[in-house]
Symmetry: C2
Subunit: 80 residues, 2 copies
């Protein structure tokens, strides 16, 4: 079963990486960009075939390693 995890900064948390990308895009001549936020995208293959159990397992992974839940949110999509 494939798990797709998005880890994004919580609203209100400063995002210097996003700011740098925003600035770089403007330097390249792209206009009309309101804001840029950058997060992480992680694809995992898990052996667990029960979607409910797989979700619990991946949530645990997010809390323990993939996301810093003080400043980041995570979202999990399961496929197959």
């Amino acid at each position: 079963m494939k798990a797709k995890v998005h880890v994004t900064l919580k609203p209100g948390v400063l995002d210097p990486q996003g700011k740098a990308v925003h600035h770089a895009l403007e330097s390249l001549g792209f206009a009309g960009i309101g804001g840029v936020r950058q997060g992480k995208y992680i694809e995992l293959d898990v052996a667990e075939t029960d979607p409910a159990k797989a979700k619990v397992q991946v949530e645990e992974m997010c809390k323990k390693l993939l996301a810093n839940t003080v400043i980041e949110n995570f979202a999990i999509d399961l496929e197959g």
Copy 2:
């Protein structure tokens, strides 16, 4: 209009960051993980309201800055 961009390594390109995450998850006791690939997730607010034009603009941003098209693929989702 909000654009969500996923930048992922092309299949076959080595992903040391994903390998490190995989290894760390195993060290934490998570079993049955087949593979981990890590990519980037970028959210942009663009002023353009026409979806077709916004897509062209964001594609241009991906090719010029956000993705290294030699080793990375990108996917764009537009919202509202």
